[in-house]
Amino acid sequence: MSRDLYDLIGLVAAACFILALKGLSHPKTARRGNLIGAAGATIATLVVFFYGDQLPLKNLPLILGAIVLGLVIGVPAARKVQLTQMPQLVALFNGVGGGAAALVAIVEYLKLGEEAAEKGGAIGAAILIATIFTVVVGTTSFTGSIVTFLKLQELMTTRPVIFPGGRFVIAGNLVAILLCSGWVYAAADTTSVLVLMGLSALFGILFVLPVGGADVPIVISLLNAFTGLTVAASGYVLEATLLIVAGTLVGASGTILTRLMAEAMGRSLFGTLFGAFTATATAAGATDTRPVKSGSAEDVAILLNYARRVVIVPGFGLAVAQAQHTVRELADLLTAKGIDVAYGIHPVAGRMPGHMNVLLAEANVPYDQLVEMDEINPTFPQTDVSIVIGANDVVNPAAKTTPGCPIYGMPILDVQQSGNIIFLKRSMRPGFAGIENELLYDPKTTLLFGDAKASLTKVVGALKSL
């Protein structure tokens, strides 16, 4: 195959990726967009096997074996994962992509170094810089994503992990990475690049550890942008235009998403990433003994039966309990009684951007019933009952009233303005961000303790028998 044909096919694949992202921006075209992207990736992968200095490719059996191994691991993981675990899987996939990009850059760098040593030349400066960038950012993305995965899977604490002098350790780590980059640039040998990889791996861990649970969606999209850029940089090293285009597209979309997320949380990106270092340990764990009003499923059903407008506010607790189908059943029942029902979706409800939309879509909730925060907030004063299901931080008025608390400044769903508030909660435990919610003690609030799905089933039953 000629180089021109090879490049032309690469161009087709790049166009597929652009169409894929374009399609993914609209619900109607999204699935087709994703398939176009998959087609582009398949074409790009197949064509590599027919282009090269020698055919069949050297190490072909091993290469095919590695691909099969990847398929055996990746496909079942993607098929079997529950929707609640989607965020950590995406984080993991992102991490392995970053790791792959870093490895590719290292191998190419080692090879160029050997060639340069044989021929007495040197590796070009631009190539070296791109390599260093890929190794640093790719490895950071890899270990950072692993820590994110551990946090989301709750294999480790979801609270920010802050240790004394953490800021100085991170700063020292960054300086070490810079110095080591200089070493790689000057020495161009194996040891230096492996040390650089180790330092970057440490940085990825240190960088994600202090990020609090509520900010994880931002970190996932940021790491996604990182991986995209590393792929673009390895495309530069390998002189593969397709990788440059694909990586840059992902970098751009990741950046946009990160910015949108940060805006939704009402804070700067910098504040999110480094806020935990400055935040004093807030009164987490301070047990409050004030009375709360807890009600039965029948109480809730009566309240709902006489409402004219009900807003459902879902959070991660809904996902944990797999209660999305029961919620829809409840909403259908209320709609049939002539009650106006809408879902109030906070942009960062759940564990990743738009997480709630995916869950409710699974339960066949039409997406025009899912109302974004800015649209639903003005309607709360006319809302008789708000049902908050497994959400906490996104309705916590402390975000408006308590300067200094970790979520201060985050726009919230103004459920406190509605006539009645029902909280479905497993316990009085505070949310992912670990902040006490004043709203729970509000006289308008009724708490229904228990697993969200079990509670909702009881409410549906009670509502039917009214």
Binding site: G70, F93, T227, L257, G354
Partner: protein, 105 residues
């Protein structure tokens, strides 16, 4: 134009295309978009195959084969999981009120 400059031109133009294409995404689709974009950077698999086929010694070969495994997981897993999510976003009408309303008194 030198090849380095050509590559950088492609990069800069791709930045603009990327921002333009994704700028008006609705929040409904943030998760699939991120997951789909995630799958797209799995195309690093192409780079991993290229370096594997050029590997001169066992260190290079081991690292590049590892890269192939990781990149395949990223790419294939990413597209599959995105498709699973989007399957649920297929256009649909209002929830079938008919099968529920019968039960309500």
């Amino acid at each position: 134009m030198s090849s380095g400059l050509a590559l950088i031109s492609i990069f800069v133009l791709a930045v603009f295309v990327g921002f333009e294409v994704v700028s008006k995404v609705s929040s409904t689709l943030h998760t699939p978009l991120m997951s789909g974009a995630n799958a797209i950077h799995g195309v690093i698999l192409v780079g991993a195959i290229i370096v594997a086929s050029h590997s001169e010694n066992s260190l290079q070969l081991t690292l590049s084969l590892l890269a192939i495994v990781l990149a395949t997981i990223n790419m294939v897993g990413g597209f599959v999981v995105t498709d699973r999510m989007l399957e649920m976003f297929k256009p649909k009408k209002r929830p079938s009120d008919s099968d529920k309303s019968g039960e309500v008194k």
